[in-house]
């Protein structure tokens, strides 16, 4: 994923973020709930999203949003922050 190409409407961004929070909950086997993922200001790993859960999350994002995660430092940092992740995805979705 690279930087945001175009802005999505605010409502769409909110929906994307909420959906990402659900994917975090699934990928972490419920270790982190969707509500926790939405509410936190900490990096997601600090809540208990492990690298294994991040790998499942990447797979889910790629399948659901039709994007390729490129594993750059910037993309991997976005996995820690739902707002960054939302921006990446809404800027890139096909």
């Amino acid at each position: 994923m690279s930087t945001v190409g175009r802005r999505a409407p605010a409502g769409a961004a909110r929906e994307t973020k909420e959906r990402l929070a659900e994917l975090v909950a699934t990928a972490s086997d419920g270790e982190v709930s969707a509500a926790e993922a939405l509410a936190t200001e900490l990096p997601l790993s600090a809540l208990g999203v492990t690298s294994l859960a991040q790998m499942r999350l990447i797979d889910a994002i790629e399948r659901e949003f039709g994007v390729d995660v490129d594993f750059s430092d910037e993309s991997l940092a976005a996995l820690e922050d739902l707002d960054l992740l939302t921006a990446h995805i809404t800027g890139r979705a096909r």
Partner: protein, 444 residues
């Protein structure tokens, strides 16, 4: 003969995982029985009476469900999915109280000869009968059919089939023939190309080997294994995992790389972790052989463990992603990088976490961890003449502790260095766990 059948047996190329194991088998033959592995299923007590016919029927349903368990290898090599067939079941009898020992002995016997990859089904089945009922089912897997996690899924399904006398529940997971098709699709080729680029890029900048030079003469056989069993290391890894939102596997990989840096003096450490490749929805529950080597490259100069883990996380994610790769593409990438550098690039430094599950998260107190140090033991269980690596770490669960072993070529890392590595790893984990401040971040 009345004519050709409309469809022959299903034939597909090998999957990436199968190709990786096939190459290892070809390198190891005729000693390739080494790759066989067994599981013993103790029949649940709620099943009062179980006959051999019941087991045969359940195993038949299991192999109906998972094509890998009826797939043979043909010239090419290719995978050939066979029709369902009645399984052959070996039968032994045991007196009450001796069943487990007899089952273990049966397993060893069933593991002791290499599979006939072309003509033999890749699952051997045996039962132990005690007082007229089957008490244990022994399964021996060909590594072309399953890896450890794949076998766990098969055993779980067989248990359900025995209990429910019918169905293993849910649609079957992705079959290896289907996986091979996906790996050869446009999406698969894109993944393979990204992996090739990653391996070549990293092989262009890592040390040509983590253990590049012979530093000693061997005393006796050159290959030795040192095994540390440590409750303290297990507790420390659990505490660090909880406090840093990591798995104990990720903690141990990072700590192992840091210790390789310390004993070799290299600042950039490259390790080849064996990766399960079950992160994807289409591989997660597949009964097949998926494990492949990844490439973990990390700057290990950080002094604080949390800084080390921060560097290790993206390195581990990249290693995990590109462990799902075409072995032929990786070999070509390795050859290109080696030619460009004028030296064979090969880390000779691997890491295999053989545990099937993470221990439950637990935030042990530093005092408890320190107190457990007294029970650690270090032994030298294996020595042999040959190994195709120079430094191999294996992690196993040993009761409530960890088994951490190093199998090394003592010409490149003498026995004293192996012992320093293991003791140093335990110290590093215990000290980092003591320093890590407890953080209350989880709401509930």
């Amino acid at each position: 003969m009345t004519g050709e059948p409309l469809t022959g047996p299903l034939t597909e190329p090998l999957t990436w995982g199968q190709r990786a194991i096939w190459a290892a088998i070809e390198r190891t033959a005729p000693d390739d029985r080494y790759f066989n592995f067994g599981r013993v299923l103790a029949v649940p007590r709620s099943i009062r009476q179980l006959g051999v016919a019941d087991v045969r029927r359940a195993v038949g349903l299991l192999t109906d469900r998972h094509q890998a368990l009826r797939t043979t290898i043909g010239p090419g090599p290719v995978q050939i999915v066979g029709e369902s067939a009645e399984p052959v079941v070996g039968i032994v009898h045991a007196a009450r109280g001796e069943e487990a020992a007899v089952a273990a002995e049966l397993q060893a016997r069933m593991e002791s000869s290499a599979f006939d990859y072309r003509d033999e089904r890749p699952l051997r089945v045996g039962v132990v009968i005690c007082e007229g009922t089957v008490g244990h089912v022994v399964l021996v897997f060909c590594h072309m059919a399953a890896d450890g996690l794949g076998a766990e899924i098969a055993v779980r399904d067989l248990r359900l089939l025995l209990l429910l006398r019918g169905t293993a529940g849910g649609p079957p997971p992705t079959q290896p023939a289907e996986l091979a098709r996906r790996q050869n699709s446009a999406e698969g080729l894109r993944l393979a190309r990204a992996a090739d680029e990653y391996w070549e890029r990293e092989f262009s900048r890592i040390p040509v080997s983590m253990f590049p030079a012979q530093v000693a003469e061997p005393s006796g056989p050159p290959i030795w294994r040192a095994l540390l069993t440590s409750r303290a290391a297990a507790m420390a890894a659990q505490r660090l995992a909880v406090l840093h939102g990591a798995t104990t596997g990720a903690v141990l990989l990072a700590a192992s790389a840091a210790m390789v840096g310390r004993v070799t003096g290299q600042e950039l450490c490259a390790m080849l972790p064996i990766v399960g490749n079950r992160f994807r929805a289409d591989t997660r529950n597949a009964v097949t052989t998926l494990s492949q080597e990844g490439l973990f490259v990390c700057d290990v100069t950080a002094e604080r463990f949390d800084d080390l883990l921060r560097a290790a996380r993206p390195a581990a994610l990249r290693a995990y992603r590109h462990a799902y790769h075409d072995p032929a593409g990786r070999a070509a990438a390795t050859a290109r990088a080696s030619a460009a550098r004028g030296a064979e690039v090969q880390p000779y430094c691997c890491f295999n976490d053989m545990r099937f599950a993470e221990p439950p998260p637990r935030d042990w107190e530093p005092g408890e961890i320190h107190a457990a140090l007294g029970s650690s033991t270090l032994t030298w269980p294996i020595s042999q003449d040959r190994l195709n690596c120079r430094f191999c770490v294996h992690i196993t669960g040993e009761g409530a502790g960890l088994g951490i072993s190093v199998t090394a070529d003592t010409r490149y890392l003498p026995k004293a260095g192996m012992e320093s590595w293991l003791r140093g790893l335990e110290d590093l984990l215990v000290e980092a766990a003591a320093r890590a401040a407890a953080r209350k971040v989880h709401a509930g």
